[in-house]
C-alpha cells in the first residue's frame, strides 16, 4: 500500500461555504469525511438517521468528492457495497444509523465475512453518556457484529477517528479481506477534536500480520508433489481473483498442463473456453469435475476453503490424493481437509514463486478423462435443457441465450437458488471478476442491490442480475435506488412461482410435500414501472431472444420477467452429506 502525505483540512477541497465556516479544530464527523477522502473513497451506500446525522451534515459539504447513494433499506446498502467491492477490489463503504439501521445491515456483514469481501461499515451510535442505558435506537452493535466482522471498534472520542479509520481500511482490504464495522457515538461525531486533524494510512498492525510471501520450503515441497504427480488437479477458489492472480494461474496451469476446476465463487477466474478448464465443483457443479476429484493423485487447492457444498461428505473427500493448499488465511489450513503441503500466502505471490519451480508437462490422457463425463452430462442434462421445444421456457435457455448475446462479457450478479445454479452452469464467462453471488451465506435478496453496487463500481461493464421471484421480493425496494441513480442495471427475474430450490429438495427428499414454497406473486413489471423502471414479461420461447435484445439495448435500467417451467430441477446434484462421487444426474 503506498504511503501518502499527511492529510490536513487545508488540502481537502470543500465547498466555498464550508471553507468559510471551517473551524480550526474540526468535529469527529468532519474528521470522518476527511478520513474517507484520504482513503480514496469515492462512493458510500447509506441511509441517514438520528444517530448518524452529524456525519450526514458533514457529508453535505463533501458531496462533490464523495458520491453518497441513498438506498431504500440498510441491507441494500450492505449488498450494494459488496457488489461494489467485488468488482473493484476496494472496500465498499456503508453509512447507517444506530439500532435498526445497524441491525438491518447485519445480513450483509455476515455475507461479506464468509465470502471474504472487503467492507467498511460506519454505524451511528447513541451519545457516550447514554451507552448501556437502553436509549432510543440503542443496540449493542459491537456485541451483535463481533462474530461476523473481521474487526469492529467503537469510537467514543473524536480524536480517535483518523487512526481508527485508517486501521479499518487496512484490516478490511488486506490479508483475507472482510467486513469491518466502526460504531461511532453521536457525541464523538459532534465534539471537536483537541488536536489538528492529520491522517496517515495504516501500513501495519503489530498483532495483525497477514503473510503474503510463502515460505520457500513450503513452495519446494508443493513443487515436488506437482512435478511427480500423474493425475494432478487444480481447484480454484475466490481467493485467486481477490489476489488478482488470474494471469499467474493461467501461466501455471498452461506450463504444467493441469486441468482446472473452480468453486462457485471461483468461476470466471479462468475463461470457460480455456482448454484446461473442466468446469465447476460442488453440490450443483459439473459432473466430471466432481467425480474426477476422487481420481486425482495430487490436488492443488488455491484460495478456496473446502466448503461443505464443495466437499460433500468431507470424511470421504480426496482421501486418495496428496493435497497442496495455497491459502492466505492460516486458519483455513487443515480446517476441513488436511494439507500435505500447506502454502500460506497470497495466491499471486505463491503462484509467481511456484511457476519457476514446476516442470512443463502435458497431462493429456488424464485431462481427457474429464471429457467423457462432459459428454454424459451434456447428453443427460444440458442438451435436453437447451433443446426442448415443448413446455415453458427453461432457465437454462435464458442463461444460454444471455451468454451468447453478451458474448460472456457481462458481470453476472445472481441471487440464491435454482436460478443461481443455472446461471453458473450456463453462462460462459470470458472475463475475470464476472460472477458476483452470495456463495457462503446464500443470502436471498442479494442480487438486486449487489448488481446496483457492481454497476456503480464498474460503470463500463454490462451488469445483469439473475434473480428468482422469491429473492426479488426480499429487496425489490432497491429498484428505487437504481432508478434514482440512473444506473443501467439489467435484471432478469426467472419466475417459476416457487421457492424453486426448496421445492426441489422437498420433491427429492421430502416426498413432494411442498410445504410453503408456492408464492402468490405480484405483477413485477407494474411494480418496476411504479418505481420508474421499464420492463416487460416474456412467457413464450419464440419471444425470448427479442426480449433479451430489448433489455440489453435499453438505455437505462430494465426489468425482464421470464416465466419459466414451474417444476424444474437443477442437476447434477450431490445430495447433502453424500460424497462427491455419489453425484446424481437425475
Amino acid at each position: 500500500m503506498e504511503a501518502i502525505a499527511n492529510i490536513t483540512p487545508d488540502v481537502i477541497e470543500t465547498t466555498p461555504s464550508a471553507q468559510q465556516a471551517a473551524p480550526k479544530l474540526i468535529s469527529g464527523s468532519e474528521a470522518l469525511m476527511m478520513s474517507l477522502i484520504a482513503e480514496g473513497v469515492d462512493t458510500i451506500f447509506g441511509y441517514p438517521g438520528g444517530a448518524i446525522m452529524p456525519v450526514y451534515d458533514a457529508l453535505y459539504d463533501y458531496q462533490d468528492q464523495i458520491n453518497h447513494i441513498l438506498v431504500r433499506h440498510e441491507q441494500g446498502a450492505g449488498h450494494a457495497a459488496e457488489g461494489y467491492a467485488r468488482v473493484t477490489g476496494r472496500a465498499g463503504v456503508c453509512l447507517v444509523t444506530s439500532g435498526p439501521g445497524a441491525t438491518n445491515l447485519v445480513t450483509a456483514i455476515a455475507d461479506a465475512l464468509i465470502d471474504s469481501t472487503p467492507m467498511v461499515c460506519i454505524v451511528g451510535q447513541v451519545a457516550k453518556k447514554l451507552l448501556g442505558t437502553d436509549a432510543f435506537q440503542e443496540a449493542d452493535v459491537m456485541g451483535v457484529t463481533m462474530p461476523i466482522t473481521k474487526w469492529n471498534y467503537q469510537i467514543t472520542n473524536s480524536d480517535e477517528v483518523a487512526d481508527v479509520m485508517s486501521k479499518a481500511f487496512y484490516i478490511a482490504q488486506s490479508g483475507r479481506p472482510g467486513p469491518v464495522l466502526i460504531d461511532i457515538t453521536k457525541s464523538a461525531q459532534l465534539e471537536l477534536m483537541t488536536k489538528p486533524f492529520s491522517y496517515e494510512r495504516c501500513q501495519s498492525i503489530i498483532s495483525y500480520r497477514p503473510r503474503l510471501a510463502p515460505k520457500q520450503e513450503q513452495l519446494e515441497l508443493a513443487a515436488k508433489l506437482i512435478n511427480s504427480a500423474k493425475r494432478p488437479y487444480v481447484l480454484v477458489g475466490h481467493g485467486v481473483q481477490i489476489a488478482k492472480a488470474e494471469e499467474e494461474l493461467r501461466i501455471f496451469v498452461e506450463k504444467t498442463g493441469i486441468p482446472v476446476a473452480t468453486t462457485l465463487l471461483g468461476q470466471s477466474t479462468i475463461s470457460t473456453d480455456h482448454p484446461l478448464y473442466v468446469g465447476w465443483l460442488g453440490m450443483h457443479g459439473n459432473y466430471g469435475p466432481n467425480v474426477m476429484t476422487d481420481h486425482a493423485d495430487v490436488v492443488i487447492a488455491i484460495g478456496m476453503r473446502f466448503d461443505d457444498r464443495v466437499t460433500g461428505d468431507a470424511s470421504k473427500y480426496i482421501k486418495q490424493a496428496k493435497v497442496i493448499h495455497i491459502e492466505i488465511d492460516p486458519a483455513e489450513i487443515d480446517k476441513i481437509i488436511r494439507a500435505d503441503a500447506p502454502v500460506v500466502g497470497d495466491a499471486k505471490e505463491a503462484l509467481k514463486a511456484l511457476i519457476p519451480l514446476v516442470e512443463p508437462n502435458d497431462h493429456t490422457v488424464w485431462r481427457n478423462e474429464f471429457r467423457k463425463y462432459d459428454t454424459i452430462e451434456y447428453e443427460t442434462i444440458t442438451a435436453p435443457e437447451l433443446n426442448n421445444p415443448a413446455g415453458k421456457i427453461r432457465m437454462a435457455e435464458v442463461i444460454d441465450l444471455l451468454s451468447t448475446k453478451t458474448k460472456g462479457e457481462a458481470v453476472l450478479v445472481t441471487d440464491v437458488g435454482q436460478h443461481q445454479m443455472m446461471a453458473s452452469r450456463y453462462y460462459q464467462f470470458r472475463r475475470p471478476n464476472s460472477l458476483i453471488t452470495s456463495g457462503g451465506m446464500g443470502t436471498m435478496g442479494f442480487a438486486l442491490p449487489a448488481a446496483f453496487g457492481a454497476q456503480v463500481g464498474a460503470p463500463d461493464r454490462q451488469v445483469v442480475a439473475i434473480i428468482g421471484d422469491g429473492c426479488f421480493q426480499m429487496t425489490l425496494q432497491e429498484l428505487g435506488t437504481i432508478v434514482q441513480n440512473k444506473q443501467p442495471v439489467k435484471a432478469i427475474i426467472l419466475n417459476n412461482n416457487f421457492l424453486g430450490m426448496v421445492r426441489q429438495w422437498q420433491q427429492l427428499f421430502h416426498e413432494r410435500r411442498y410445504s410453503f414454497v408456492e408464492l402468490q406473486n405480484p405483477d413485477f413489471i407494474t411494480i418496476a414501472r411504479g418505481f420508474g423502471m421499464d420492463g416487460q414479461t416474456c412467457d413464450k420461447r419464440e419471444n425470448l431472444s427479442d426480449a433479451l435484445d430489448t433489455m440489453l439495448a435499453h438505455d437505462g435500467p430494465f426489468l425482464l420477467e421470464v416465466i419459466v417451467e414451474k417444476e424444474e430441477n437443477v442437476f447434477p446434484m450431490v445430495p447433502a452429506g453424500a460424497s462427491v462421487s455419489q453425484i446424481r444426474l437425475k
Binding site: M146, S207, D334, K335
Partner: protein, 177 residues
Amino acid sequence: MTTYTICIFTENTIGLLNRITIIFTRRRINIESLTVSETERKGVSRFTVVIKHESREEVEKLVRQIRKIVEVLAVFGYLNDEIVYNEIALFKVSTPLGSKPLDVETINKQHKAWIVYWGLDYVVIEKTGDDKEIFEFFAYIKQYDILEFVRSGRVAVGKTEKGLVEYLPEAEWAYYL
C-alpha cells in the same frame, strides 16, 4: 477427554474477552476456567483458558481461529505436562467456640495451606496448587464446617526456556512495571 491450557496474548482492548469466548461458544466447547491479567509487558494481556477436549486436532484448529482475531498477538495450546500451573482456592471454615480445633500443623506442613484471615468464629485458609491438590485439601478440611469455598482459574507458564517477548511480534515492548 484431555485437558488443554490455552494461553492467549493480546492487546489490552475493550470487548476482546467477548470476541475470544465467542470462538469457544460457536464450537460448543465449554470453558473450564479463565484467567486474565496484564503481563509484564505494557499493553499485553494474557488469557489462560482451560478446556477439555477429546480431539487434539480440533484444539489446534481452535488455536488457529483465535490467532485470527486482529488484536491477538500469539496463542499457545499446552498439555498439562508442558506447563507449570497453579490455581488458588480460599476456604472459609467455621470455628465457633467449642468446635473441634483446627490442626494447623497438618494444614501447613502436610497440605501447604495457610490461614490468611482470622475472623471471630471462622478462618480463611488459602491453598494453592493444581486441582488435584486443592481437592485433596478440600477432602481433608471437609471434616470442619466449610462456609464458603472458591477456586480461581488456572495460571500457567510454559516449560520452554523462552520468555514471553520472544513469542510476540517484533516491537519495542516496554515493561509494565
